[in-house]
Symmetry: C2
């Protein structure tokens, strides 16, 4: 079998610029995001020399950072190139989001030539103080590894380290490349040895696939023997396995909460299997929706801590054992919900450590740990017996066709329209709450930036996810893992009008690349989630300029596209019932008109429960929250609607 350098016909020595892109290609990172800049152009020229690689060409750096994050969530790694100073700082918020949400990516920054920096020449894009490392230092807080390529002896090692750390730690890394260092020479034969990514080779090819059949259980159990030998030598993992198994067997009221690091670290199959073998009631955090097969009888929906539905809280709050798998943050609080579990009842599995009650066990190989548990688990010893089918049923609503839409009416309808393989992206506003009420089919991917919560993220992520979906489809075909779910991969975005405006020009990049997502704009005329959560009134600064959103596809140069304005229940049903509409053969933009004072039921429920006294935020922390009686909920959720109803349709047309 020929080596990588032979197959690709590489000369013995290649430039470090070429080397970077070959390494990324080996990890199937085929699309590079970013914008060209004076100092990054020489590097970008190398990109076009490596087969199959493509340049996304974003419209601005923040959008590019959101895009690479969306891409990486599906492919485990992404790469963005920006230019020194102006470019990298523009991307900063996006990179910070990837850091907070455990998304692995390589941020390459094209830097001025080393001759300029050693002479402290005052170049442009500097702060004028002769300090070229300011931005490098600033990046330190939002990356897990950073370096500047300056030494020909170590440059290839540094490249490998940046890529390896981004992959393994699932955090951003930063690599500064001075424009005169691109042609440092490295041995091309380095590429013949794969990067050590500490992943079990058995399933590394399929780490993005969460489609587990029951007959795979035995095969994983059997085949895992080899790697388990190595794993069992890890005394600590063995010890923790015993403790966890003991707790599993003893528990009378257990619950599993699955969080986002399961997806980031490629633990989808192990986690799914664990939930199926134990039959413990299983929930996902908002960030993890889509990771677990929602058709399971023991899948109970989304756990949103203090604002979870009563059904969810009944189980999790009264559980004598809560196992959190792939935990991003043990405790977590937004203006909309608090998320914490009593220490004495919890086993928390992070990305590389475990916490049992209050004892922390660092440096654990989680993949091996989960396999250990799966291998040793004896179902007969489990005390708990599954007794209640939790499966979510989303009933069809019986409404007249001319019923004007509200958030509450919209989300259920989509549950019936989603299909296996879909990639569903929701913006952090009202959409992220609406999606909680939907049911995902098997093998659905959910993307939402629930923790960092940067408005405008989702349109960038939609671009990145659309590129990734295209590549996943090609990869599936290439490796013969073809089933219909993997071949469709419709990318579906739900974004509010307020958030859409923040990053809207990325729509142009989607069109330029001929990608075909569904973009549902929930038009509620401004920042409605803030209107509700912070004031329960309509301060001027929540309003935004009203645009003719559906014209944008044409203005940005799209030729083959579809747009619809959805005002009534009939409009919605016609659209979702249209077979042609369900085929993602062109870009589609759909504007769904909902009232400005309207939010999904989950948010109203949350607020109502807070008011009822459970988990009330200390009101002193929010001196401006307005005191309201219970009747205000009604006046918020109903009165404005009724009031507006008569002329609403007219206004939309």
């Amino acid at each position: 079998m020929s080596s990588y350098s032979q197959i690709n016909n590489l000369p013995p020595r290649i430039s470090v610029g070429d080397y970077i892109f070959h390494r990324l290609r080996q990890l199937k990172v085929m699309t590079i995001f970013g914008l060209p800049g004076e100092f990054s152009m020489p590097l970008m020229d190398k990109l076009y020399r490596v087969p199959d690689m493509r340049w996304a060409g974003n419209t601005n750096e923040l959008n590019a950072a959101y895009a690479v994050d969306g891409y990486s969530r599906l492919k485990r790694l992404g790469c963005i190139i920006t230019t020194f100073g102006v470019g990298e700082l523009s991307a900063m918020n996006g990179i910070a989001g990837s850091f907070a949400e455990h998304v692995g990516l390589l941020h390459i920054v094209g830097m001025p030539p080393t001759s300029a920096t050693t002479k402290q020449l005052l170049l442009h894009h500097t702060l004028g103080n002769g300090d070229y490392e300011t931005f490098f230092r600033m990046a330190n807080d939002v990356t897990c590894y950073n370096t500047i390529i300056i030494d020909s002896d170590f440059c290839a090692d540094e490249v490998d380290m940046c890529i390896r750390m981004a992959w393994v730690k699932q955090k951003p890394t930063y690599m500064g490349v001075p424009s005169n260092q691109i042609d440092l020479q490295v041995d091309s034969t380095r590429l013949d040895i794969d990067l050590d990514l500490r992943l079990d080779p058995l399933i590394s090819n399929n780490n993005n696939n969460n489609n587990i059949a029951y007959n795979e259980i035995e095969s994983i159990r059997t085949l895992s023997n080899d790697s388990l030998e190595q794993a069992e030598s890890q005394r600590m993992e063995g010890e923790i396995t015993k403790i966890i198994l003991k707790r599993i067997y003893e528990s009378n009221n257990p619950a599993i909460v699955v969080d986002a690091c399961v997806a980031r670290q490629g633990l989808l199959r192990e986690t799914q299997l664990f939930c199926e073998l134990t039959m413990f009631p299983t929930f996902v955090t908002p960030m993890a929706k889509g990771i677990i097969n929602e058709d399971m009888n023991n899948f109970g929906g989304v756990f949103t801590g203090s604002i979870s539905s009563p059904d969810v809280r009944e189980i999790v709050d009264f559980a004598d054992l809560v196992i959190v798998i792939g935990c991003v943050l043990e405790e977590f609080s937004t203006s909309s919900f608090h998320f914490n579990i009593k220490p004495k009842n919890r086993i928390v599995i992070f990305d590389d450590s475990v916490k049992i009650k209050t004892v922390a066990y660092p440096d654990i190989n989680i993949k091996n740990l989960l396999k250990n548990i799966l291998f040793q688990l004896e179902q007969s010893k489990i005390n708990y017996s599954f007794h209640k089918n939790l499966e979510l049923q989303v009933p069809r609503q019986e409404l007249t066709r001319d019923q004007l839409l509200r958030q509450e009416l919209v989300w259920g309808e989509f549950s019936h329209w989603f299909r296996p393989g879909d990639i569903i992206i929701t913006e952090v506003g009202t959409s992220a709450f609406g999606i909680i009420q939907t049911k995902f089919p098997k093998n659905t991917w959910g993307i939402s930036q629930a923790l960092w919560g940067s408005s405008g993220y989702s349109l960038g992520a939609c671009l990145g996810a659309s590129f990734a979906a295209q590549e996943l489809k090609q990869e599936a075909a290439m490796y013969g893992n073809v089933n219909n779910d993997q071949l469709s991969h419709r990318v579906i975005l739900f974004v509010g009008d307020g958030a859409f405006q923040i990053t809207m020009q990325e729509l142009s990049t989607i069109i330029k690349a001929n990608l075909k997502p569904y973009i549902f704009i929930m038009n509620n005329q401004g920042y409605s989630i803030d209107r509700f959560l912070h004031h329960r009134s309509n301060a001027k600064y929540y309003d935004i300029q009203q645009w003719h959103y559906l014209s944008l596809l044409s203005v940005f140069g799209a030729t083959d596209y579809e747009t619809r304005k959805i005002i009534t229940m009939g409009d919605l049903q016609d659209m979702l019932g249209d077979q042609k509409f369900a085929i993602n053969d062109k870009i589609r933009m759909l504007e769904i008109m909902v009232p400005s004072m309207d939010v999904p039921q989950a948010i109203i429920d949350k607020w109502q429960r807070e008011k009822e006294g459970s988990n009330v935020i200390n009101e002193n922390d929010h001196p401006h929250s307005i005191e309201t009686s219970n009747s205000d909920v009604l006046s918020w959720s109903e009165s404005p609607l009724t009031e507006l109803e008569p002329d609403r349709k007219k206004r939309y047309l």
Copy 2:
């Protein structure tokens, strides 16, 4: 005379939130930029309680940062409010630009309540590490002062300090305001004492006015006596004055270079007067264009260092004395030009220090120094006698009406269309070079981010400048300083299509606020300046998606507007000759079609001169620059055009 607190009917104690906006109002900062966010909303509610204040409501934070920068360049101070983490990091690149280019602004960040931070509760918009000061620390490198409001005893002092430092240092300051600290109480009578801004009270009301009549010279000379007494007590200033005067008298071949800090520090009148009294040949840097009256016989145009026109270099390169006033950076280098002056012949006046030859004098009050010089200057002792009229003449071009446009043909025409009072903003791409070739009328403001050079800056700046222009007009009317120039203040933007896409949604904010700038989009189908400077070829990554730009006004909800597509010389002449077009009574967007391989003559000249061996950049620094012979200039600037010419018009229609 009633005090501020009496006039405004303030209670004895007011909240620190109110206090902030009253202080800003006292400095005529009436428009606040930014976006609402969970943690900043309580503060924003205060904004609406202070008379005359308005909220810009930007579409994203980077655009808001550019806008406040543009606003501050005209009003000396601006204010932007963002929210913790996501908001402030998105604005980072814009704030860094203000820092690099000496623009004073207050960045207020709405932070989580102190209860959350002291408990290290993991809120969203955090990096998940319990560190709430990460972003505060990151801001440290791009601000001259930063603080978090937490102490009721000192909060008003901190507010004053942030505003004072931003004004005096002309750099950004950072003020974190935890959401539960907004209502800390402060004495409203503090507002009865103006902030000490170390400005001469004599001209503080007019510090933005560079309209100097000759009959004012004597009045300034006379009236300055009082403040001079104080100034002369500063021994150092007196000593420097003597040295500078001696050099002025002795010089046979002097030159003055005016840089941007003259505008930032309100030294417009003093500088103008100095140039008029000495009659030394006077030049401006690209960042300072508009500061000096270009009608002066001794005004010689723009000094761009190594790429200056031969006429300019002949004077500056051979000068025995170069006085740089308001210097931003002593040495400065972009990919397009180098800027440095031989130490032995230079006197460099910075914003708060002076350098004579190689000796630095720190902590100098520049305003007093310039007044000292003006007061003591004896014209009869000046050795140099002005002999050559340098005044720029821009001839009318004789071309057929159907001549297709090129950059070279466009800029001269605009020289004849500009009028006094115009505010002319140019993007850092080809436009910033084109504008060098134009002649500005008196009292014109130029805005260009020449040093930091962040693409997309100009549209945000256009919004900020449009708000400021509106306010300057009102102020002029209020203070009775009315003349036609001050009342018109047309805001005119030149931006390339590539840069426009980066921040394009800010057009919506311009429309929302009913502002009426002229937006000239130089459509060259991508990043042409980079095409030329870095490759002299058309790599794919320079191309951008082609939009129907002129449709955007309507899509964003404008109703009263004008658009034109300008393809031929006839189109351009018709537009600029139309009297109605010259009146800024509506928003206008004008798309000027130029070839993708076309750049202004200044860039071609620069490159040609570099090739001729003067000030050649070390080619080793740019391993990818393509070796070319002189004939390539021709093939760049002519051949592609000729080639495209036949079907160009058709393609544009």
